[in-house]
């Protein structure tokens, strides 16, 4: 089974997270990293969830990682794979695994980021086998 395109709902962008989606529109995956404790986090916040510092900064992620977990949603008109990908930067993010054989997806598989257009909004980061 391969992925046919599922329509991606648009993310509701707000000022706190606009840089993430502006970068996504340019094909770049951004993360937030804390200038106080040095840790990256996701989803991105103005306030660090680890140390509560407001010295968080946008960094560019390499866009490579491994599948932490996934599930293929079968009982829908267009089956799709939801997943969590652990990035090289150490954070794990919810995403889709796309452009591949859904039955061949495995935990631990290496993946890379690609961006998919959404329904009236900025593109979102999804992952495909590296």
């Amino acid at each position: 089974m391969t992925t046919t395109e599922r329509k991606y709902p648009a993310p509701a962008v707000n000022p706190e997270i606009k840089p993430f989606f502006d970068a996504a529109a340019q094909g770049t995956l951004m993360l937030k990293k804390c200038g106080a404790c040095g840790q990256a986090h996701h989803y991105p916040r103005a306030i660090c969830p680890f140390c509560a510092s407001d010295r968080t900064e946008w960094i560019t992620a390499a866009g490579r990682g491994t599948i932490y977990s996934y599930s293929v949603m079968r009982r829908v008109p267009v089956p799709y794979a939801i997943g969590y990908v652990t990035l090289e930067e150490g954070v794990t993010m919810m995403t889709n695994i796309v452009d591949c054989d859904l039955d061949a997806i495995r935990i631990g598989q290496r993946v890379k980021v690609v961006f998919k257009p959404t329904d009236g909004g900025p593109p979102v980061p999804v992952f495909t086998p590296a």
Binding site: I17, P49, I82, M94, N96, T118
Partner: protein
């Protein structure tokens, strides 16, 4: 300060309907409330504390106090999804211990079937301004595929199998056959579970709970009132609650917030897992039960599959009887929220009022646990331990 022995569960009611085509939401709440008050031997005029969650209509306690004509001096609307009502029992005990109310009423109701809600397989529209939503909703998170990711990781990390998960449904079905109100009363086999249609890998249709309308209510009272009533005495011994979330991206789907709510409840109650004669475990999906039992200390992490297999959760057969009403997997999951019915069946067991075919002998200490929200993203875990006096 502790709630141990400071409050008793005097009234319980599980609404018998499973499809409420002819009742309103407020009506279902009120019918449940009247049922639990009648069970206790109390009336609505005795109620001075009211507890409800996000399923209540309108402005929650304001709308329901208005509808039912309640005069209140204490309200609590703690909302942690399906586990809310387990937390409400603890918060009611706290309020009673502090003298903030004497008779606390907790209600739950909903009609997702009558409303034709696509409960598990369609992403739910995000609550306004949820900070996580822009980073989740576009990817199609549904209730079932989020829990499925927890199951997939548990299988990968610990070797848990679909057959082990299926045993949880099998045990629930053995109990449900004796419950005339249960939505699904047919006993199923492991083979039937794992050959049922795959909904979202690795969860099959029969790994998923039922979708039902209905509701329920609980009445928690101060000791003097409990002892003046004619019902068996069921005492709140201890409770714990905790949220678990994504920890800034340090995600670990193999455990739940029960790792925190459980020890807190056991410590307050002064008991250990080996003292528990019966457990009501929130069973939105089979994986929810397995992970929760590990986290509560009934099995080592990763060993839950062995604990639940081979009928070990079946009353009269195994060592750890669970969800003897058939649980959410077979009996009832009113309003897509199963926490309240977990407390109700635990109280039935402690009173000796469970169905004779599933009643646990000498059931003096029981545990009820709720998991609200999603194991795959964020959830509220709540544990309450109760004892027969």
């Amino acid at each position: 300060m502790t709630i141990k022995g400071k409050a008793y569960i005097a009234g319980i009611f599980e609404h018998p309907t499973r499809k409420a085509d002819t009742q309103s939401l407020a009506q279902l709440h009120a019918e449940s409330a009247i049922g639990a008050l009648a069970d206790a031997g109390l009336t609505k005029d005795d109620v001075d504390g009211y507890f409800c969650a996000g399923d209540a209509p309108g402005l929650g306690p304001l709308s329901m106090a208005d509808y039912m004509g309640l005069k209140l001096r204490h309200m609590d609307t703690t909302e942690t999804g399906g586990s809310s009502y387990v937390i409400h029992v603890a918060h009611a005990a706290e309020a009673i211990a502090l003298g903030k109310c004497n008779v606390a009423l907790i209600t739950l109701a909903g009609r997702p079937r009558a409303e034709g809600m696509a409960t598990g397989t369609v992403p739910r529209a995000p609550v306004a301004a949820s900070p996580d939503a822009p980073f989740e909703y576009p990817f199609g998170p549904t209730v079932v595929n989020q829990y499925a990711m927890a199951a997939m990781r548990h299988m990968y990390q610990y070797g848990t199998t679909s057959a082990q998960l299926a045993w949880i449904k099998v045990a629930a079905s053995h109990h449900a056959q004796h419950n005339p109100h249960a939505l699904l009363r047919e006993v199923v086999t492991v083979e039937e579970v794992i050959s049922s249609p795959m909904i979202s890998d690795p969860l099959h249709r029969l790994d998923c709970c039922v979708i039902t309308d209905g509701g329920g209510a609980i009445v928690v009272v101060k000791p003097e009132i409990a002892k003046s009533l004619k019902r068996p005495l069921v005492k709140v011994l201890g409770a714990g609650e905790a949220p678990k979330h994504q920890m800034g991206g340090k995600i670990d789907l193999t455990y739940s917030g029960a790792v925190w709510s459980g020890p807190a409840a056991f410590a307050e109650a002064g008991v250990t897992p080996s003292d528990i004669k019966y457990v009501s475990i929130y069973d939105s999906f089979t994986i929810t039960v397995l992970i929760t039992l590990e986290d509560l200390g009934f099995a080592a992490k990763g060993q839950g599959g062995k604990l639940v297999a081979d009928g070990n959760l079946i009353s009269g057969v195994g060592k750890l009887p669970f969800n003897t009403d058939g649980g959410g997997l077979c009996n009832n999951h009113p309003a897509n929220r199963g926490g309240l019915t977990k407390v109700v069946e635990a109280v039935r067991q402690l009173r000796g009022e469970a169905h004779p075919k599933v009643q646990v002998r000498n059931c003096d200490v029981a545990l009820a646990h709720g998991t609200g929200g999603s194991l795959g993203t964020r959830h509220g875990s709540a544990t309450v331990i109760m004892g027969r006096e």
